[in-house]
Symmetry: C2
């Protein structure tokens, strides 16, 4: 077995296989960029105007109801969850199935909610761990509430930061999408995890965590419950995954102890990214087991952080193979240097 | 069987399934935008400076050799193909396989070439059909040359138009990537086509072409050999597919007659898109059978045109489910109105 934690100088391009899905990425270091070169000059930024923010006073913006609200002892809200006024999928009834010739569709019913902490200015990377833990509480509370609704098979939780990552409002907010299908990317991970389990009797994510803890080159941060790594087959420079170290198929069963550890891991990971790349735009999201009543003991939930480093052009869009120009080993080293300890 | 070519007014969101891959898209028309509303104000554009163009005089930019050159009778070149000076994958040797703990990789060897027509200013949508046919000749010539090289399993041909679609040079150019793996997205289509063939004894693309020709609502253009449709499960507003009407698994076996028809279909499709959306950025690429020596009689090559209409944000990146806010039936109608006849 050859150990090549970094790409040799004669070979400036590597095809790395995602251990879970079997998909491939290209790591092309031909231009030999340093980690600092990945600081992206933002072409457009979101207005941080407090007056125009629809979340400062949600009622005035047409918001009719909260699905969840957390308050301080004095009655002031600290976090609210409410339906998106411009949903991608519509609340309500069971999906109606539609056939047209050889095609199949269903009405897009489900839930699309927004998770909004009180503070307009402090983005996720800079929040207190306590506030992040409160956001995780909200994720879990809404997940448990929605998972048993009729026809819901998968719940997706995401957080977009910055305009180029698709955020349209400056005020930090997460989104919960509950849909009557299992998402294709999650299905690829589920299938891969099942294949790995069948052939090795082990969880593929547990194997990864064990190896990364031994190896250390791609570990960004670790605490009692969680580990943050730059994945071996990173799809973009500075991609990170946050995983519970114990095998955990279902996010909604996270304990309070794990949640505190996870909040710190998120804070450290995003804080290091913020420092390394000067507040880059990124997407942050959960992959967990479907809630369709089936058993997914082979899966292992995790969060993925995908900084917006490049445009998906024809090659990526046509093949599904992403090209990154920084080795995850180099990214992890830079991120470790940027971890704050306060 | 319910016939619903458009989304009813009570239901403003549909989940549509891709008939080939089984993947899903969301068509959410809540904001009821008109086709004209999809004209994107470009935030950044590429410089069209002739002096700074590396393709006007490739030798001066460090280009050492052509892999293909077409010339006029007077000796002036009309099209050149040469290796990319900044390749994502490197020319040459067989891939070396790399194991690291539970992971697998190989050196990124293969071919990455640029297909450059002479004219700096005229982009693909506005070229003569003769010039487009010459570009298709070059695709085919290079494909046939590269397909038998050692270790090449898939050849990807793409054309990016505009900065937001990933183009970095104004001068129109296509790219050929030859890689030692089968791309995940192509694999999904191959698997889907094989499943469909097993259960129906038919080619899924042929079924689609037949149904769309009967139905007409999603047909943008048709000539003797080719058809242009907006796919039922369009991933973005104004997405189009161009398919040969006859079952054709291998692009490299295209006849001259088919090539002329295809050139006109590309010209009409991109011309209509150019008119409908005022020169939008887009990605245009080929999906064809792998060249790994196996038999793919169930596949059917086609080109896909994906206009850059929105940012892939957390939901799309985490689930693989894209959200489009225009029904393909409405897009096809608008594109038909924009077809030129000259």
């Amino acid at each position: 077995m050859t150990l090549t934690p970094q790409i040799s100088s004669e070979e400036t391009s590597q095809l790395r296989q995602d251990i879970v899905t079997g998909d491939w990425v290209v790591i092309a270091t031909k231009r030999a960029r340093r980690p600092e070169d990945f600081i992206v000059k933002k072409e457009t930024v979101l207005s941080d105007s407090l007056d125009a923010c629809p979340f400062e006073n949600p009622e005035a913006s047409g918001q009719k109801e909260d699905t969840l609200i957390y308050k301080k002892a004095d009655g002031e809200w600290t976090l609210r969850v409410f339906p998106n006024l411009y949903p991608a999928i519509e609340r309500g009834k069971r999906p109606r199935f539609i056939e047209e010739g050889p095609y199949f569709a269903m009405t897009g019913t489900g839930y699309h909610e927004l998770v909004v902490p009180r503070d307009h200015y402090t983005h996720l990377a800079l929040m207190d761990a306590t506030m992040i833990a409160e956001i995780l509480d909200a994720y879990q509370d809404r997940y448990i509430n929605i998972m048993n609704k009729k026809s819901i098979r998968y719940i997706s939780i995401i957080h977009n930061h910055g305009k180029s990552a698709g955020a349209s409002i400056h005020h930090p907010h997460s989104q919960i999408f509950a849909v009557p299908i299992i998402s294709p990317y999650v299905q690829l991970e589920l299938d891969g995890a099942e294949r790995y389990k069948k052939s090795t009797k082990r969880c593929v994510f547990c194997s990864m965590v064990e190896y990364e803890r031994e190896q250390k080159t791609r570990v960004v941060f670790e605490n009692e419950e969680c580990i943050v790594i730059t994945p071996y087959a990173s799809r973009s420079a500075f991609e990170m995954w946050i995983l519970p170290k114990e095998h955990s198929p279902y996010f909604e069963r996270i304990t309070n102890k794990q949640k505190i550890s996870l909040a710190w891991a998120i804070k450290r990971a995003l804080g290091a990214l913020d420092k390394a790349l000067d507040n880059p735009d990124y997407n942050f999201y959960l992959h967990t087991s479907p809630c369709d009543g089936k058993e997914y003991s082979h899966f292992h939930w995790h969060f993925e952080i995908l900084p917006k480093m490049s445009i998906w052009a024809g090659f990526e869009l046509s093949t599904g193979v992403e090209i990154s120009s920084l080795e995850p080993e180099v990214a992890a080293k830079r991120l470790r240097e940027c971890i704050e300890n306060k």
